[in-house]
Symmetry: C2
Subunit: 163 residues, 2 copies
DNA sequence: GCAAAATTTGCAACATTATAACATTAGCAA
DNA sequence: TTGCTAATGTTATAATGTTGCAAATTTTGC
């Protein structure tokens, strides 16, 4: 592993976007799903940074694009993208972020920096396994697991002494 | 442990409410915090069942009470109750549930039944520890951890064959 | 007690996030 | 072409949450 995960250090972010779009095209093709221009554009916008974007933020940019869009346009695109595992909704932020493990089956866990807003998506098998064990002890059958950790990322911790 | 946790089987729920209110009074007294009538009533309403209640659900009952309440009344009461660890907000539901570990320091993990709506709050040290380890590997300092598991509770699994 | 200060509440307006319902259009196949 | 299905446009509305300020209540210092 690198000394610091992508969102937390400068990187060629355009490469992230390009890769995400390429992955998305491949995944949609595999599933005979149509990555229409609107859907692709929304995905691209979500990927503009590693900070989650609200649906209405997306909507605003579409409007700048000259696209005469209403909320359902965005929500439908986001639903589609979620369905194919291309974006995740961050419940604690009411916002959406590009999946960094698209295509692979994974249980996302999100590290959300309170200061810079960047989000790192992890696949943490130990966490998933602990959650499953805890659920099993209650005879509970998990179907969807939300793990969102809010805190301070390494970069922001270095930049200044918060608190 | 009992064969099945409280929310998942019939029980004298009034005892849950009474206990929760008594705990709340004690905790507030300890902290010199004022459990005013409105706050206490909101806590009582949240505890009406083990199903999380939306802020506007609470508001509606207050209105039935004859209490001329507006949204801020409810949100302020809920903020207060959260501050003293008496209720938790379930981000994936936009709803609130009474804390079943009030007073004790704990990292809640919530098992949310899709079918009956009941929520079981667990303290799962193994999960917390796995989350902390995963965060530490990224040099991330967690401040607030949200773990919400949506699925099928034992009772609903027994009642019928969903899916 | 009593006035000043701090906390809590009432209230109106507003902001944000998300969905419902139905008409229209675009892609595709017989 | 024609008909079917998926996708989008459009309008309205629902659901959730916040801001700002004034009034009332409670606490504090005297
Ligand atoms: Zn993912
Ligand atoms: Zn940061
Ligand atoms: Zn709790
Ligand atoms: Zn159930």
């Amino acid at each position: 592993m690198s000394s610091s995960a992508l969102p937390y250090r400068p990187h060629n972010h355009q490469a992230c976007v390009t890769q995400a779009l390429a992955d998305a095209r491949a995944i949609c093709q595999q599933h005979n799903a149509r990555l229409t221009p609107t859907r692709e554009r929304v995905l691209e916008l979500i990927w503009q940074s590693h900070k989650p974007l609200g649906a209405y933020d997306v909507l605003a940019v579409l409007a700048e694009d000259g696209h005469n869009a209403a909320p359902p346009t965005v929500y439908r695109a986001l639903d589609f993208l979620q369905q194919y595992g291309l974006v995740h909704r961050i419940a604690s932020l009411n916002a959406f972020t590009g999946c960094t493990h698209a295509g692979k089956s994974h249980n996302g866990m999100f590290l959300i920096c309170r200061w810079c807003g960047n989000v790192l998506e992890l696949t943490a098998p130990a966490v998933s396994s602990a959650v499953n064990t805890a659920a099993a002890e209650e005879s509970f059958r998990p179907e969807d697991v939300t793990i969102e950790v809010s805190g301070c990322c390494p970069r922001c911790a270095a930049d200044n002494a918060h608190d």
